[in-house]
């Protein structure tokens, strides 16, 4: 369990610093199991901050969403830092962005949370439908404790955990300035079971699977906008000349978009699963991202978002990289 009082105090101290613009964390949402990003501009804003297993959002996206509008006469650029509450995966996003020079380390203050896994909103909403009032979820060992309509339910973690959390190798922040509580120990190992079982299928079966998924896509690009790593100034899909991917929504363009989105995250995706969570059409996007993550690990012995000093995967090479496919 995260000590919320310590969290709030830390946020208060951080936001009170002169060199901090605001701190982003979590607060209760407007209904049911919703938790929503919260922005503290002053110490009292921190009072509503929480951390529970419902805090799924990857807040690393917010420093990348900062709008840099043209300065007016006499106006100076606001270079103050942004404070962020980060879990293990979120901190990896920040590391990766720093590695790519999208951010400088000193641009952010990271309040680290040792994370024991978060709940998949889809699973919990299916289990307890129609919750209009805000519901609290607590942890108790290997169970989640959920109080709904006066009754307390104890439910095993495995039943509600996000799939990505079940095999998370980095529950503790990879970098942070202040850690709330103690690091958690983990022996979890990513086994890529889902990926392997899909890999084993025939080409026809694989296409049949993905065709159905890509056909659903409505190309809202929520996957891109929710992703902390998708921070290009102009996304290639918004480009008009050359227009690589047409605007019309059909299987061909949808496939091109989904493949390119996945490829652009090769060696960069840190597996927070925000794309899939944001996707309104329930396309299993992490299955694409994880596949590349697995390949990259096997082929190049590389994992993104661990070391900010390392060079990005596709911007470097080893002379002896495998080339068995080359004629």
């Amino acid at each position: 369990m995260v000590d919320e009082r310590q969290l709030r105090d830390t946020v208060k101290n951080t936001v009170s610093r002169d060199d901090v613009k605001y701190v982003v964390g979590y607060k209760n949402g407007t209904y049911g199991f919703q938790v929503t990003p919260a922005f503290a501009f002053s110490a009292e804003d921190a009072d509503k901050f929480i951390f529970s297993p419902l805090c799924v959002n990857n807040l690393a996206v917010y420093p990348m969403l900062e709008e840099k509008l043209p300065l007016r006469k006499g106006e100076e650029e606001d270079t103050r830092k942004i404070g962020l509450v980060v879990k293990g995966c979120d901190s990896r996003a920040i590391v990766q962005i720093i590695q790519e020079k999208g951010l400088k380390r000193e641009d952010v203050i990271l309040i680290g949370i040792p994370c024991t896994g978060v709940i998949d909103p889809k699973k919990i909403n299916a289990k307890f439908p129609h919750q209009t009032k805000t519901v609290d979820v607590k942890e108790d060992g290997e169970k989640f404790v959920i109080k709904v309509n006066g009754t307390t339910h104890k439910i095993s973690r495995d039943e509600l955990l996000f799939e990505k959390c079940k095999h998370c190798e980095n529950p503790n922040p990879v970098i942070c300035d202040i850690l709330i509580g103690k690091e958690v120990k983990t022996s979890k190992k990513e086994n890529y079971e889902d990926i392997k079982s899909l890999e084993k299928k025939s080409l026809e079966e694989k296409w049949e699977y993905w065709e159905k998924q890509f056909e659903k896509c409505i190309r809202c690009y929520a996957c891109r906008d929710a992703c902390p790593m998708c921070y290009c100034k102009e996304c290639m899909v918004d480009q008009l000349s050359p227009q690589w991917i047409r605007r019309s929504v059909n299987l061909s363009e949808n496939t091109a978009w989904n493949l390119m989105r996945a490829f652009h995250l090769a060696g960069r995706c840190i597996g927070c699963g925000e794309c899939e969570r944001a996707c309104p059409m329930d396309i299993p996007l992490t299955k694409l991202n994880k596949k590349i993550e697995k390949d990259v690990k096997e082929m190049f012995d590389y994992a993104p978002g661990i070391d900010a000093e390392e060079k990005p995967l596709l911007a470097m090479f080893k002379p002896d990289d495998s080339e068995e496919f080359i004629l």
């Binding site: 969403l65 209009t132 969570r277 944001a278 059409m281």
Partner: protein, 342 residues
């Protein structure tokens, strides 16, 4: 309005008869989500849904629509499209989604009639399904008209009253559809009517989330420059899911697509949440910040639209709330906007 009942046993027959004469679109379970798709057999339908993921507006205002074909280049020729899509029935549409068509009509009619939407609209009969189990974020009762089991905007409304459906035939289109079905449709008794009212009341009571829409138009006029909007918008990711899945959002982009020898001008849904939406060729953007864009979405629905057409462009389906990845909740936004001190 004519009232009948239709036994559940005979419902497949009822649907089969419609399929024989019309293109029928109905809610279908598709890879984990419910969508309106064309069906050939009543067994494909899934009526146990609360709201389809994509609103049925997509059937009349298609996400990708060809406006006309042309020969590309500077010696161009135009090849017009046939806008008639054939006689269609949308089966199982929710009263809220049906209301959205009444709202969209205002935009697509007017000085310049949109033939693509209007021809489809004219040729489409809406067979609604009363919403007996509204979802957590449904708030259709917050508006002056409509409601979970309202027949106001459909041609025929079916309401599940236990072992049968209560059938209300609302319009001429509805009469035309049902007139040959007298073997299936039995005139409703007073008891059936009572039962329907009970079901309706129950459905209305399930809806516990409300927003205050009284005086919202005037109120929004007063708080345009209020910092409130910045606070609402700061967590917005600009993903646009809210607009794509909104049954009343009607914005679109027009693009030319070509091969070497053929081309077409198409229109596709667009979203005002994307900064490119208003970006001018000169580089100037009148809505440069997320605040501008989020505010525009709310104002478009709750201020601009009522000013122009005297109806709020929101039906309370709750899709934008359900699907927002950061929990921007229009119920709360509107309620809080009403409470902002000026």
């Amino acid at each position: 309005m004519d009232r009948f009942v239709l036994s559940k046993e005979k419902t497949p027959k009822f649907i089969t008869e419609i399929i024989a004469k019309y293109n029928v679109f109905a809610p279908v379970e598709n890879e984990g989500i419910t969508l309106f798709k064309q069906i050939k057999n009543p067994s494909e339908i899934n009526l146990e849904f609360s709201n389809s993921k994509v609103p049925p507006k997509a059937l009349l205002f298609k996400q990708t629509e060809t406006l006309f074909k042309f020969t590309p280049g500077v010696k161009g020729k135009i090849d017009p499209m046939d806008t008639n899509g054939g006689k269609t029935v949308v089966f199982g549409i929710r009263p809220c989604d049906a209301k959205s068509f009444a709202i969209l009509d205002h935009v697509f009619k007017g000085d310049y009639e949109d033939p693509y939407y209007l021809t489809k609209r004219e040729n489409t009969i809406l067979v609604g399904l009363g919403c007996t189990h509204p979802d957590v974020n449904c708030f259709c009762t917050s508006f002056d008209d409509g409601g979970p089991v309202s027949a106001e905007y459909v041609d025929v409304l079916l309401t599940d009253i236990g072992d049968k459906y209560f059938v209300e035939v609302k319009s001429d289109k509805g009469k035309h559809l049902t007139k040959t079905m007298n073997k299936l449709l039995i005139p409703a008794t007073e008891k059936d009517g009572k039962k329907k009212n009970e079901v309706e009341k129950k459905a209305v009571d399930i809806i516990t989330r409300h927003t205050k829409t009284d005086g919202i138009v005037d109120k929004l006029d007063k708080i345009f420059d209020n910092p409130f909007w910045k606070n609402i918008a700061i967590k917005c990711l600009g993903c646009g899911t809210c607009t794509y899945l909104c049954p009343t959002c009607h914005c679109f982009d027009i693009q030319d697509e070509t091969t070497m020898s053929e081309g077409a001008r198409i229109r596709v849904w667009d979203t005002c949440m994307n900064p490119e939406y208003t970006l001018q060729a000169s580089g100037y953007n009148p809505r440069p910040e997320r605040m501008n864009r989020v505010r525009n979405r709310v104002y478009h629905k709750y201020n601009y639209y009522p000013k122009n057409y005297d109806i709020i462009a929101c039906v309370g389906c709750g899709r934008c709330i359900d699907n927002c990845p950061v929990n921007i909740d229009i119920i709360d936004v509107v309620t809080e906007a009403g409470e902002v001190k000026v």
